[in-house]
Amino acid sequence: MSVTTSQSSVILSVQSAGRVYRMGEVDVPALRDVTLDLQRGELLVIIGPSGSGKSTLLNLIGGMDRPTSGHVRFGEMDLGVISDRELTRYRRFEIGFVFQFYNLVPSLTALENIQVATEMAGDPMDPLEALELVDLVDRADHFPSQLSGGEQQRISIARAIAKRPQILLCDEPTGALDIETGQQILNLLLRLRAELGQTISLITHNASIAHIGDRVATLKDGIVESIEINERPLRPEEVQW
């Protein structure tokens, strides 16, 4: 990936993006007009009440969906207009996803779940190395149903980072976990960012978690209400849950 504009550290920019869902006769605007940049290497936390459009925004960033208005640009690519094929390649090579409910393939082992991602990526890690990074080498041959929620989420993170994506997108990664496990997961994400240097965008509806972000975008009714810069992001264990 070439750096687009000279000294800018913007890796991806969302420009007046909107997303309207048609539900039969009515239009549901999930996202109205969002403008926001993702800075290289930062941790951008997106918060907002349920239904405010957080997931919709993350999906646009991750190339899972296209805006119905406005643009999402990654380098010279406008994700709204490129072909499905290119969009798939974008997801494959540039993006790592971590979901609230882990979404591991139930009929594949932990290791194989990582291999699903690495077997088609450009310059992936060794899947075992990814497992090592999340400290679950001994669980390599376990199926998801034999793992705890936290372990599943760690596998899911290993799967996301194993492709060496530029951007890691996490949609409420702690939403289904207890406090302690949630903190572990957040620590893991931060540690990995320190080692690998991805840009992370993380959704939460828990306002206190927002304190760990470099910047915090607050969404409401499909628009960005505010973007705050945290001068001193907290460590996960400092957060009051």
Binding site: N59, R91, A117, E119, K163
Partner: protein
């Protein structure tokens, strides 16, 4: 093929398949039967067709045969010079009574002349054992190989042959096969093969000419034509018949009407039909079930598909992955089918070899048919899976990650009838909603149980029809113990002579005359039976099974003949006997009766006698006996009468038919019942399991509310029970209709099948269906017990 786009997804594929192994195994079995029956039937079709065509060609089976009273060599030349004829050969064919050392019962034989040396000729022989004749006038015979085998004859044995009025002590020099007699129906009539009574023997031409009063002449001419298409053959045959008229043509037959040829043809046609019918049914059912099962799998793996898309798997890779589920089942099924076909083909050919004496009939391996079978199977599986694969591929990634949209459709159509709906218990409502909310799956369940039931009914109807046919032909229509056929028609003295023999209780004369019947453009050649007034041993019956009195003048036609000639009661037909004065007369049609075998017509024996220029004659004597103890004496008496050319026992004909057709049919029925079972079981099992997986949470809720597993299973079962009961009920009608259709399709000059289904069969079919469905439900119960309801409740879709 790069299975499933990537080795890891291949692993997922295999594990997903393994997790569904039981229902999948049933689908695979269904696919295997579909593919196997395609390959097997297509192979058998080729085996038989090739063996037949080769045999007919190499041993030069004639395209036509003309029987005459007496034809000189010049008549043969005349046939040969007829345009369209390639070659012709004169032969002597004489009926004979054979007296076998191992058997008291006399056997009607057919003695056919062969040249004194073994040279290639029309209707040639394939010498199997022994040698050719040692001289032109020798009393030597070559026996039909199967006839010899069945009676234990070998070269060197002797056989007594009664020709005209002289008994000859004939030396057996060899055994042979002929393309003319591939299917060995007894020489004295009948429809089931009976090699021991098919006394076809070959003797030197000079010998037969001398002992048959045919010095320098023939009584049959066979010929090969350049164009053997039916139309061309009929044209040539007409010309020949005209040209030979002076020599008294008694019969002119195109090859397709030779009894053996015609039986073999209809068998081969039947196999050809099976080549498409069975695979269509089985692969069709497999397709439908796959559609339901893979469709459910895609719905279940919705978020997995979303995740794979999020990870960057391409649409094609995902479509391919789900397509592979079908393909994989198909591959395993095809492998099973290939093994099945390879294995069964040999057995089937061995069975055909018992019925059809074709020298080169072997189970051959046709790689291209295997390729065809496997391809058809894969295509069927792909078609069955494509809808689900497309749904998986087109699933929008962001969409897929959201929880699935709430259960589709609030109320079903029945809820709009409040009077009905409000009376239902909530369990019934649940069942009805489940049925109506998944119209496709419900349709599959309904349709496959319908199909299985229809298959059962048709199968049973085959059995009932044959039983009815045999009972009707051999017991309702005829009541004699034995019938004696005479060489020449004789007057009343013949009956008296038989009546005086040991064991004989009553005798009824009958006159059988081959006649040409025609009405405008429609014509048929058939034997008219002249029956005496007050006939009791041969009693034609009308539609309602009532005996029809034989009119003094005019004809009683069977329904098939009436249809062929396009006449009704009150019309008249043109009639010309092929013996006697051969005068053409107009005969009124007085009544119509029903028969299922062959073509026949009845008239008063005196009326028919007059038509051939006689007063009152008979050439067949039907008799009843006091019991079979004295029959050996009777046979000995009969063997001494030169006028007798055959003795047939009604019992024997019936037994033979039971034994061959009945036995083969019995096996076919067992197989078809198992096939129906597999269809019903497989489809109900699969649809029930899909329904179960869809309703896991619903039922989990019931469990939490305190319902027992049994109560929950009962609620689940309702869906399949209602659909299966509906399918079975409609299937009864469909099966009845199908049986009617099949009986229409099998309407030939040789055979008609009454579409008979005993009322109890509906009960049998219902019982079997209950069994199949219950078996499937029993397996489902095992799955219900395995499910952890609490997990089902916790897990989000």
């Amino acid at each position: 093929m790069v299975i499933s786009a990537g080795p890891i997804l291949l692993r997922k594929l295999l594990r997903d398949l393994w997790a569904r192994k039981t229902p999948l195994a049933v689908i695979i079995a269904i696919v295997a039967i579909g593919t196997g029956s395609l390959i097997m039937n297509a192979s058998i079709y080729r085996d038989l067709k090739f063996a037949r065509d080769d045999y007919y060609r190499e041993f030069r089976l004639a395209d036509l045969s003309v029987s005459l009273k007496r034809a000189p060599e010049s008549a043969v030349r005349l046939v040969e010079q007829t345009p369209g004829v390639a070659e012709a050969r004169g032969r002597v064919v004489l009926p004979a009574l054979l007296d076998l050392p191992n058997q008291s019962e006399p056997i009607t034989g057919l003695v056919i002349s062969m040249p004194e040396t073994n040279e290639p000729i029309l209707n040639d022989l394939l010498l199997r054992e022994g040698t050719w004749f040692s001289g032109p006038e020798q009393a030597e015979a070559i026996l039909n190989h199967r006839f010899a085998e069945a009676n234990g004859f070998v070269a060197g044995d002797r056989i007594k042959v009664l020709l005209l009025d002289e008994q000859h002590d004939v030396l057996v020099v060899g055994t042979a096969m002929s393309p003319e007699y591939v299917y060995l129906i007894p020489t004295d009539g009948g429809v089931a093969p009976d090699p021991a009574r098919t006394g076809i023997i070959y003797m030197p031409i000079k010998f037969l000419q001398r002992s048959g009063d045919l010095e320098g002449a023939f009584n049959q001419i066979v010929a090969r034509t350049f164009d053997s298409s039916p139309a061309a053959l009929d044209r040539v045959l007409n010309v020949i018949e005209d040209r030979l008229d002076a020599w008294g043509v008694t019969d002119a037959t195109p090859r397709r009407n030779f009894p053996s040829v015609s039986f073999l043809d209809s068998e081969i046609q039947g196999i050809r039909a099976s080549t498409t019918i069975m695979p269509t049914i089985f692969l069709g059912v497999a397709m439908l079930i796959l559609n339901v099962v893979i469709g459910r799998m895609v719905a279940q793996q919705r978020s997995v598909i979303g995740t794979l898309k999020a990870l960057g798997k391409s649409t094609t890779a995902i479509a391919l992955h789900y397509l592979c589920f079908g393909t994989f089942a198909a591959l395993l099924g095809a492998a099973g089918g290939v093994v099945l076909a390879y294995w069964l083909q040999g057995g089937m050919i061995a069975m055909y070899r018992q019925f059809y004496k074709l020298p080169n009939l072997e189970a051959r391996f046709y790689p291209e048919l295997y390729v065809l079978g496997v391809s058809v199977c894969l295509i069927a599986a792909a078609v069955g899976t494509i809808a689900a694969a497309r749904r998986a591929a087109s699933l929008h990634p962001a969409e897929a990650m959201r929880p699935p949209p709430p259960e589709k459709g609030g109320s079903i159509i029945l809820e709009r009838i409040p009077i009905f709906w409000s009376r239902l218990s909530f369990r019934r409502r649940l069942v009805l909603r489940a049925i109506f909310r998944n119209p496709f799956r419900s349709g599959v369940n309904f349709f496959t149980t319908l199909l299985a039931t229809a298959l059962l009914i048709t199968t049973f109807s085959m059995r009932d029809s044959l039983t009815y046919l045999m009972e009707y032909q051999f017991s309702a229509l005829s009541h004699e113990d034995l019938s004696v056929s005479l060489r020449e028609p004789v007057g009343e003295s013949g009956s008296r002579e038989i009546l005086s023999m040991p064991s004989i209780a009553t005798v009824e004369p009958q006159l059988n005359v081959v006649c040409d019947l025609s009405n405008g453009p429609f014509s048929r050649r058939l034997a008219i039976s002249g029956l005496p007034r007050g006939n009791r041993l041969s009693t034609p019956l009308d539609d309602l099974g009532q005996p029809v009195p034989i009119p003094d003048e005019g004809l009683v036609l069977t329904d098939k003949v009436a249809r062929l000639l396009d006449v009704e009661v009150g019309d008249s037909v043109s009639l010309r006997p092929l013996i006697g004065e051969r005068r053409r007369v107009q005969a009124p049609v007085i009544a119509i009766v029903k028969t299922y075998i062959g073509l026949s017509a009845y008239a008063d024996i005196q009326y028919l006698s007059r038509l051939i220029g006689e007063d009152y004659v008979a050439n067949s004597l039907l008799a009843t006996s006091f019991g079979s103890e004295g029959w050996n004496l009777l046979y000995n008496e009969l063997k001494k009468r030169p006028g007798v050319i055959g003795v047939a026992r009604r019992e024997r004909a019936l037994e033979q038919m039971e034994g061959t057709m009945g036995e083969t049919q019995g096996r076919v029925i067992v197989i078809l019942v198992m096939f129906s079972g597999l269809i019903a079981f497989g489809s109900v099992l699969n649809t029930a399991l899909v329904s179960l997986s869809e309703r896991e949470r619903e039922v989990g809720t019931f469990r939490v509310l305190g319902y027992t597993k049994g109560e929950v299973a009962a609620i689940l079962r309702g869906e399949q029970i209602i659909l299966s009961v509906m399918g079975t009920s409609v299937g009864m009608f469909a099966g009845t209709g199908l049986a009617l259709l099949i009986s229409k399709a099998y309407d030939t000059d040789l055979f008609r099948f009454p579409a008979t289904i005993l009322p109890i069969r509906y009960f049998h079919a219902a019982l079997l269906m209950v069994l199949f469905v219950a078996l499937a439900q029993a397996v489902v119960r095992v799955y219900i017990h395995k499910i952890n309801w609490l997990d089902a409740l916790k897990i989000k879709e």
